[in-house]
């Protein structure tokens, strides 16, 4: 709780700072003169060809899914890394090394499979 109040206060302050700055600038700056050429979506000077959102390669979402799975495996290593020294001090070093060894083995098999299966190829 001690650290929560300043975090929330800083978030609110930064949001207000940004929004206030944008608002002030919109008061100061010149009023926009609109024309259809200026208002249209930027497409390197030609007329707008597509409606904005064209088809996008599925690889982006495949990358994101694999990221989530590996990210969780990495998160599982954090408490392990934190308690590693304590385990060694109590003489259970080999146990904790083995426990994570099996997990890391699964991780490595997964990584090798992903690379071999060409799921991570971009062309």
């Amino acid at each position: 709780m001690n650290s929560l109040v300043p975090i929330i206060a800083l978030t609110i302050f930064v949001l207000l700072f940004g929004a206030g700055l944008l608002f002030l600038v919109s008061l100061v700056g010149p009023k926009p003169k609109n024309s259809s050429a200026k208002n249209s979506t930027y497409e390197c000077g030609i007329d707008v060809q597509t409606t904005g959102h064209s088809k996008i390669s599925v690889r982006y979402y495949l990358t994101a899914i694999l990221f989530i799975l590996f990210d969780i495996e990495i998160i599982f290593m954090y408490p392990w890394a934190l308690a590693y020294g304590d385990f060694i001090k109590e003489g259970h070093g080999l146990y904790i090394l083995g426990a994570m060894g099996v997990f890391l083995l699964i991780f490595i098999i997964g990584l090798i499979w992903e690379i071999k299966s060409k799921a991570l190829e971009w062309d």
Partner: protein, 113 residues
């Protein structure tokens, strides 16, 4: 004790286990309404995430108020499963979307092996 009394008790007492559990119950039911009423499969997946979060919240609450760390481990596992579920669910949704251009759950009923 009548229900009005109970409500008054609830809001005037200092924040304790009941309040967190109440928040968790509200979140769970909002997620449930989403699952039942929405027809977009992605929004349904998100509502399920909301329900899982509600369960996590109650786990953490019990863990805190009974000073038992087991609850937090459960939360850890639930988060893992939830992420895995979201990954596979989205993979299936994307595959169906690229084939049929459809995310409506009622359309999914007509799919055949």
């Amino acid at each position: 004790m009548n229900s009005l009394n109970m409500l008054g008790d609830f809001f005037l007492s200092p924040v304790g286990i009941n309040h967190y559990l109440g928040l968790s119950a509200i979140l769970f039911c909002i997620g449930m309404v989403g699952v039942l009423r929405r027809r977009n499969v992605l929004v349904i997946l998100m509502s399920i995430e909301l329900m899982l979060n509600a369960v996590n919240l109650s786990f953490v609450t019990f863990s805190h108020f009974t000073q038992n760390i087991n609850g937090q481990i459960m939360v850890f596992f639930v988060m893992t499963i939830a992420a895995a579920e979201a990954g596979v669910g989205l993979a299936i949704a994307v595959t169906i979307f690229k084939r049929f251009k459809e995310v409506n759950i009622e359309f999914f009923e007509q799919l055949k092996g």
